[in-house]
Symmetry: C2
Subunit: 503 residues, 2 copies
């Protein structure tokens, strides 16, 4: 076959694989938003079928042959070309998918599904003992999964590499150690100051008004409702159901403004990334955000660096107060700004503030590495968790529910490879934002005027449009002119929180 | 392979085919309810892929071999056994699917999709000329499709047989001629009486109240919201997304009570049929309502024979009036009953009353047969339509929009095979209801007390639970002890409408 025929056939196959994934995403979205309870069993079977059809097609040896045939032609177009990126990234996905035997994938999927169902009961029941044997198996299977991918420096590099192409245990450890050294003094300094008052966030906030306000803000950000929707769910998420259909979900508590609003802003950040990927990449593995960390950098950038900033609220506080005049009566923009940026040690990662959040992540990263390396037995996990959160944050979980059982990750998937991306996202969000500020000059003034076009344009040009063409380190380098660094993030936190707390 | 192994393998394949169809149904449901406009193109491609995967699996020659191997064993269990029905119905589906070459199916699908998009513009623009060449091709392709199925008495029997297993052009013609002979005198008698006053249906009916009332009624019918949902759409429909997930949709006009309410009741009738099929048939072609006509008999039974009856409103009018006190002020239950049963010749089938509705169907059935038989050129269709509706109903369409362009069927599918099922459904609805009344005795008293359990139980036992195990004529025979007959339907219409109109 000619290069053209090979390329066209490969793209046709990849398009079908993407379409199957999107169909699966529709079924998943529906399951989390509107599906009646009675449909659960059939839906599980439908999802498993679509997933296995996609996997079958992605591991078809013909994919490998097309890639072999196309590599010289694609490389000749230069590493930044769409063709070279397509062949490179597809090869990576193909190799990763084919290295793992289908029988192992089935065993892993069945086990994690059973563990997830058990966890849904065990967490509310505070029953770590019920999860212990299941988690032991998960650790074992996670090790086996890693072992299918040889040639890495650390045996668990492949687990990180799966989420963060190009990242290693050593790189993450170094970054985290530096970050910890910078965070701890800030947290200690804040800890000596009076705690911020956030009672204004816990008044009466009717759901439909929360929804309207959140929708107005993310529309102003540039999230396109003609190519998306906002629905309610138990655990907020963003999902792409195809080009032109990138949806977000959130949740509302009528006595809490913060959860629903910042979840909406967060998911809109993920969604704008997906909405702005170059349409020329549609139907290929490139038509997605590049890594979990870069994705998180965008949700956190819009949620925190924009959405928890003073300039942002200098514009938006008036309409917010007009929406909730009673609940916000007596609170001015500065009081509100202090409330949404309250720093206080807490037990639960998802409730944590910007500053302490990363210590929650490091705790998990270290404990999961210890479990994978055999240094920590699953039986000893609750005690290790307890000791670590006490020493890091000075708090002690009264139960497993808000201790070692709190996150779904180890119970609905493998152990290792997920948590680091949250903090990598935080780090990158500040580095991207600092570069955008340098390039755009009066960014704060724009945000203070409710204008986000220039920022979104910059992010689209530097990050969004490329999809998976570049790795996280490459994107950081291309977008900011620097290599990945914690300096902008520490600078952001210090310059925001020290004045806020009068330090 | 042993019988057991063959049967188990066949069932596994059929389950996957059903799961693919259900996944397709989820994507279709979403497309009609919540999908943002931007997602249309990708969704079309996803749907086409799932549909072709299902078709590929259904036409796999292995299916034919399993059926061959299992037939003697299945038949030995008797024609009413699940096994015999499964082999019989699967064989029918397999034969129908394999007789049509995939290349023809692709051509037909592409053409009807193009025609449907053109019709969406042409109908509002009143542009029959734009549709003429497309409809000519549709007629040609409909003839070709019929020709793939040999061995029928009339060349278009296969088109009817597709929707109504066991029905023929000759059977429908005979039934329709008898029905017409019975309907025309009734319509003429009603035409000589003063027209009913239905202004009470066109007040102010806020959407959320319409929704709540409709939901309350169909919940009382027995539609299970734990295994279903009610959403809004442009064209109401019922869809099964899997066992335990059978959804309905409706639409609301704030100045019209009737459209939203009776659409909800109608779709709930379809849905209860699907909800009550024996779970043992799940994952097989038997796990659906048997024919379009029997399905329609259930939507019409709950919409009309129950929902437009006086006993029904003797119970429900008080809560309805409490819901809309202003709009229904001054209207008593008898006035309301007359309003919802107003008979008047009209241009549009979907707006037609129970009595004249069937003349709309017969007009379409005759014209489509004339087109298929070459007796009527597509170019002459508008004129023929005009002449026929004038002579049948005494009204003249002022345009094509409410004339030959009004229904989607010929423009979004083939010509022939669809319309007859609406009237067959009407006929069967009365025959089933009469039999239920005989068996249940005080059915009117039960309905008047807001109790539907015995009726639903009877329908489940006689019709719903069997799924596709029996054909329409068989189901009529088994449920009523008689063969299909128009007598109960004419008797129902005469005994309802003559007193209503003081004839």
């Amino acid at each position: 076959m000619s290069v053209d025929a090979n390329f066209s056939e490969l793209k046709q196959r990849l398009q079908a694989i993407e379409d199957l994934r999107c169909a699966e995403a529709v079924l998943n979205w529906d399951q989390s938003t509107y599906m009646p309870a009675g449909g659960a069993e059939a839906r599980g079977r439908q999802l498993a079928l679509l997933s296995s059809l996609g996997h079958e097609r992605m591991t078809d040896p013909m994919i490998g042959r097309f890639l072999d045939a196309l590599t010289p032609w694609a490389e000749a177009q230069g590493p930044d070309s769409d063709a070279a990126a397509l062949v490179r990234v597809t090869r990576r996905d193909y190799d990763r998918a084919t290295r793992v035997p289908p029988s192992f994938m089935r065993k892993l999927t069945e086990h994690t599904s059973a563990a997830y169902h058990a966890w849904q009961r065990a967490r509310p029941a505070n029953d770590f003992a019920a999860m212990r044997p299941l988690l032991e198996t998960t650790v074992e299977l996670s090790r086996e999964l890693a072992a299918f991918h040889p040639g890495y420096a650390h045996p668990f590099d492949p687990l990180i590499d799966l989420a963060e192409d190009g990242m290693t245990v050593a790189m993450v450890r170094t970054l985290f150690a530096e970050l910890r050294a910078g965070l701890v003094p800030l947290i200690e300094d804040i800890g000596r100051r009076p705690i911020a008052d956030d009672t204004c966030l816990t008044g009466d906030f009717p759901e439909h008004k929360q929804r309207n306000f959140g929708e107005t803000v993310v529309r102003a950000f540039g999230y396109d409702f003609g190519c998306g929707r906002l629905d309610k769910t138990a655990h907020p998420f963003m999902v792409k159901l195809g080009r032109g259909d990138v949806r977000i979900t959130t949740r509302y508590r009528s006595n809490d403004l913060s959860d629903g609003l910042f979840s909406t802003l967060h998911e809109a950040g993920h969604a704008m990334y997906e909405q702005e990927i170059d349409g020329a990449l549609e139907g290929t593995p490139l038509f997605h955000g590049t890594t979990a960390g870069v994705h998180e950098s965008q949700s956190r950038l819009w949620e925190n660096l924009v959405g928890r900033s003073l300039p942002f609220w200098q514009h938006w506080y008036a309409p917010l107060k007009a929406t909730f005049p009673q609940a916000l009566d007596g609170t001015d923009v500065h009081g509100f700004y202090r409330a949404i940026n309250k720093v206080a040690p807490s037990l639960v990662r998802t409730d944590a503030d910007e500053v302490t959040y990363n210590l929650h992540v490091m705790l998990r990263f270290d404990l999961e590495l210890d479990m994978l390396e055999g240094k920590l037995a699953v039986a000893d996990l609750p005690e290790a968790w307890h000791a670590r959160i006490k020493s890091d944050l000075g708090v002690a979980p009264p139960d497993h529910r808000d201790g070692a059982l709190q996150d779904v990750h180890w119970y609905g998937g493998i152990v290792g490879g997920a948590f680091q991306s949250y903090t990598l996202g935080n780090i990158m969000s500040a580095q991207f934002f600092a570069a955008a500020r340098r390039d755009l000059g009066d960014l704060d003034a724009q945000i203070g005027a409710g204008e986000f076009g220039a920022l979104r344009g910059w992010l689209t040009d530097r990050i969004y449009r490329h999809g998976r063409k570049f790795t996280a380190p490459e994107i950081v380098e291309r977008a900011t002119g620097e290599s990945l660094s914690i300096a902008p993030y520490l600078s952001y936190l210090n310059s925001k929180y020290r004045p806020l707390y009068g330090i």
